[in-house]
């Protein structure tokens, strides 16, 4: 249904109604921005990259193959631009914001606190993954793309995608485990003192 609507809008744009592309932007801006943000970890860069994603998509709209979902195509552009950016800049992604580097300061209710801490830790762990692995984790587990779609997006063979994703999952798990263990040691020390 959503896909049909996307295709309808794209047809209108290709027939000369350029303003309708605004609807596509409205529909995918948060998704694209989130991918860029999680990939590069910097709000300004993510903003530039997501704008570049939409501009590139618009300029190459004739190359879009309607057999695939539009979301897959635009996420592909966002991911590739982000990976290119990270490779170009050899940018070591920073924590998403100040809160993430100090995740234990403001929560009041225990549930909220634990939930947010967990989210922040996950964000931190994702940031620490290498760019290719990060893209796989985001596309598969966050954006819900299939293996086949990821192969199309990353232009990689299926075996490589599977191996990398499995490795990325293991890294994610190990890092999360380490962080939690560090935290529990820290909490124990705090309680003792």
């Amino acid at each position: 249904m959503l896909q049909d609507l996307d295709h309808k809008i794209i047809e209108d744009v290709l027939q000369g109604d350029g303003d309708k592309f605004g609807e596509i932007i409205g529909r995918y801006k948060n998704g694209v921005y989130s991918i860029c943000m999680r990939m590069v970890g910097d709000a300004e860069e993510a903003r530039d990259l997501s704008q570049e994603t939409f501009i590139k998509a618009y300029n190459n709209l004739l190359k879009y193959n309607p057999e695939y979902k539009f979301s897959t195509w635009i996420f592909k552009i966002a991911t590739n631009l982000s990976i290119d950016y990270l490779r170009r800049k050899k940018h070591q992604a920073l924590p998403l914001d100040e809160k993430l580097s100090m995740p234990y300061d403001t929560a009041s209710a225990e549930d909220m606190y634990l939930h947010r801490c967990n989210k922040d830790e996950i964000e931190r762990v994702i940031q620490e993954l290498p760019p290719d692995y990060k893209a796989l984790v985001i596309l598969y587990h966050k954006e819900g793309l299939s293996y086949q779609n990821i192969c199309d997006v990353m232009k990689l063979p299926m075996s490589k995608v599977k191996n990398r994703l499995h490795r990325a999952r293991s890294m994610l798990k190990e890092r999360l485990k380490e962080i939690k263990e560090e935290e529990s040691i820290w909490t124990a020390k705090e309680l003792q003192s």
Binding site: Q15, K29, N30, F54, Y58, R169, E174
Partner: protein, 203 residues
């Protein structure tokens, strides 16, 4: 089942490609093996955590900023030239071509000595115009080519002078010119002041 197999099945579980039999197999193993059980739980916590992450909100005015950078008329259909324009564009050069051929056959091939009619005078003026035009063209072409050769020569010269051999040659040429200049000055001195330098010279 060993732990390696359990690890493979864990991945299949999170790929959602695990079948019932494999699921039971995995279940049995992680019930018995605490290491794999913990690994499985950590993995689930990590991946569920990723799945539950919320989207970031795109910045304010994001759409407007993007739309401002797009050429919104990019896909507008380009105006097709009307049929009248097409036929006019085709007919006018054809008419002129036919007229030119006609004029040439009628007047361009006659013996000019027959007499000067108005048409012949007109053709002569046109002919003169053509010759002048040709001359101008040839002059322009010759000047252009000379300029081009000059620029090219400068380019080669600069490339040569920048090369190691070019530098050596420049030094040699400079030393030679000093030598020639000194010789010239000495000869002049001999000529003008009769300086003989120990030998006799005719003034």
């Amino acid at each position: 089942m060993d732990c390696k197999r359990a690890s493979e099945l864990t991945m299949k579980y999170f790929d959602q490609t695990i079948n019932d039999f494999e699921k039971k197999e995995l279940d049995c193993h992680i019930t018995a093996c605490s290491t794999c059980r913990l690994d499985f739980q950590w993995m689930r916590e990590a991946l569920e955590g990723v799945e539950e992450l919320e989207d970031f909100e795109a910045p304010e005015n994001f759409e407007i900023e993007v739309l401002e950078q797009l050429d919104l008329k990019r896909y507008e259909p380009k105006p097709v030239p009307s049929k009248i324009q097409f036929w006019l564009a085709l007919t006018v050069p054809c008419v002129f071509a036919i007229l030119s051929i006609g004029f040439y056959i009628r007047f361009g091939t006659i013996d000019w000595k027959d007499g000067y009619t108005g048409a012949v005078s007109f053709m002569r003026v046109i002919d003169l115009g053509n010759r002048m035009y040709g001359l101008l063209g040839l002059t322009g072409k010759a000047l252009g080519e000379t300029f081009f050769v000059f620029i090219k020569a400068l380019k080669y010269m600069s490339a040569f002078l920048n090369s190691r051999m070019g530098i050596y040659m420049t030094i040699v040429a400079f030393l030679c010119s000093i030598l020639v200049f000194t010789q010239y000055v000495l000869i002049k001195l001999t000529d003008v002041f009769g300086y003989r330098g120990g030998r006799s010279y005719e003034k």
